[in-house]
């Protein structure tokens, strides 16, 4: 089987397994996995920029929140139904990513990290400042009646799981398609050697801006879906924690691998879940595991799999 064939089999296999799992999982795990799939979609968006383009953003929460509030506010104040609200959320992410990208990409390296972090903080503070509309930290609930998409009630566990799976599958297949297209190949070239890419005639700035926009759009889609599926939008999703989490998931799962974001989100979620079952100081256990993984599996789970067993892993 060709490498592309193997990769397609693996990723379609993962989607199939996730599809099958919904029939066997107990209710608690069922709910967890739905949440993990949405968060993994967010991580896939982050991975486009960090793993494939080599740009480390510390402000992705603003894109996640743009999606969440673009969706939530348009339902709350404009009376949108879920489908146009989702599109409004993604559009908010794209517009924000275009603007922020055009400004932040004038910097590189550490400056890029700081600038994205600052923009995200500004975004967080804006949400708090307009608390009268956004309900600030407290957030607002999206009522069950407002979450019915084409007659399907997204608040029931089964529908929610299925919707999360569709989102995840779409993001995974989109990112797979992307990195095999010339656009994605050029992003990888920029990650590997930006000078060389430019001196082969590629407009590096435009490609990086494209990567920020695709990454922002996927992150916003995840944010909008999260709000819609779990019925809540709040400022905590715009806080710095939600900028760090996708970095963590991608690093642990394997930056620059397609499956890494899912593995990382799954691993981190259950690490916290299991550790908090033992002790209230669960962050201590989580921290130790993270340090160990960074020391002994520097390329993350997916990266180690690629290095040791599956060298064809894209």
């Amino acid at each position: 089987m060709s490498d592309t064939g193997k990769s397609l089999t693996l990723h379609l296999g993962l989607i199939a397994v996730l599809f099958a799992l919904q029939f066997v999982l107990p209710a608690y795990q069922h709910g967890n996995l739905a949440r993990i799939m949405v968060l993994a979609s967010y991580a896939i968006g982050y991975n486009i920029l960090f793993g494939y383009t080599g740009l480390l953003s510390l402000g992705h929460a603003m894109f996640f929140a743009a999606g969440m509030y673009g969706m939530g506010l348009s339902i709350r104040y404009l009376g949108f139904s879920p489908a146009p609200a989702l599109i409004a959320g993604i559009a908010a992410g794209i517009v924000l990513a275009g603007g922020i990208g055009a400004l932040a990409l004038r910097t590189a390296g550490v400056a890029f990290m700081i600038v994205t972090l600052m923009f995200a903080q500004a975004g967080y503070l804006i949400i708090l400042y307009f608390g009268a509309w956004t309900r600030g930290d407290e957030g607002f609930v999206i009522q069950q009646a407002q979450r019915i998409l084409w007659g399907i009630d997204l608040s029931t566990p089964d529908n929610r799981y299925f919707a999360a799976l569709i989102l995840f599958a779409a993001c995974l297949l989109l990112s797979m398609r992307l990195i095999h297209r010339p656009f994605g190949r050029v992003l990888i070239a920029i990650r590997e050697n930006e000078d060389r890419a430019q001196m082969l005639g590629y407009d590096v700035f435009r490609y990086k801006l494209g990567a920020v926009i695709v990454s922002g759009a996927i992150s916003a889609a995840a944010g909008a879906s999260y709000g819609l599926l779990f019925g809540y939008a709040g400022a905590s999703f715009a806080a710095v924690q939600y900028s760090i989490l996708p970095l963590l998931w991608v690093l642990l799962g394997g930056a620059g691998t397609l499956i890494g974001p899912f593995l990382g989100a799954l691993f981190t979620f259950y690490l916290i879940d299991i550790a908090s079952g033992f002790t209230s100081a669960y962050m201590l256990i989580v921290g130790v595991v993270l340090v160990a993984l960074t020391l002994f599996a520097r390329q993350g789970i997916g990266g180690e799999l690629r290095a040791r067993i599956w060298n064809w892993l894209p």
Binding site: V186, E192, N193, R196, Q198
Partner: protein, 232 residues
């Protein structure tokens, strides 16, 4: 007609004049060597030609068009190709991918990739990872990436640095074969390469053109000898 020309091209670095008002003309189809002692401004000069370094003053024209204001990637798209003084390839990607990126998705990419690698004798390594190649082979890969762009002007910054003698002999043959299809600007320290491949030689010294002529003229030029060997 000149494929490439500069007028009054200068570069100052905080008071140091690296390149001083250089007027330079490179006719189509020529193999031109650019030589000069260390620090003569050669790399700065070609950096300004291909847009990597903004000039302090002066203009660059390519094929009759003023390109002074164009960013590097636009100049490359007009038909310049540039190989770095310090080898610059995509070390973690395969040779095939390296050259395919240079081809930039034009029609018949597969064929163009194979042809360029064949030209430098690396076709049998097409699926290897570029970083695993020896240093000399990495230089050849970079030249293949230059060739794959089908450039109208190929700028090579010290291409034989670090090559073995046998590889240098092959390189000379390759450059001479290129004469029919492209214009070459070759920055080179290896005098045997310069003397045997170049149609004409330009000598830079302290940022200025010291002499220009055929290899035989340059060889006999007293000023050049002084610049290289000192006045004793």
């Amino acid at each position: 007609m000149s494929l490439l020309s500069t007028r009054g091209l200068s570069k100052n670095y905080a008071g140091l004049q690296a390149v001083r008002s250089v007027d330079f003309d490179l006719p189509k189809g020529q193999i031109r060597a650019l030589i000069g002692p260390n620090g003569a401004g050669k790399t700065t000069f070609v950096g300004m030609l291909c847009g990597r370094i903004p000039p302090s003053a002066g203009t660059v024209s390519f094929d009759g068009k003023d390109i002074s204001g164009l960013p590097a990637h636009r100049r490359i798209r007009l038909g310049m190709a540039y190989t770095f003084q310090i080898t610059s390839i995509f070390g973690r990607l395969s040779l095939r991918e390296n050259v395919a990126l240079a081809v930039r998705g034009r029609n018949g990419a597969q064929h163009a990739v194979a042809a360029a690698l064949d030209r430098v004798g690396l076709l049998d390594r097409i699926d290897q990872v570029a970083g695993d190649l020896s240093y000399g082979h990495q230089r050849l890969l970079e030249i293949a990436m230059g060739l794959a762009q089908k450039p109208r002007l190929l700028i090579l910054d010290e291409p034989t640095q670090g090559l073995a003698d046998s590889e240098i002999a092959e390189f000379k043959t390759l450059i001479r074969a290129l004469a029919a299809e492209t214009t070459v600007l070759l920055i080179e320290h290896n005098m045997s390469v310069v003397m045997e491949t170049a149609d004409r030689i330009t000598v830079l010294n302290f940022g200025e053109i010291l002499a220009e002529g055929t290899p035989a003229e340059i060889h006999a030029n007293a000023d050049v000898q002084t610049a290289y060997l000192g006045t004793g």
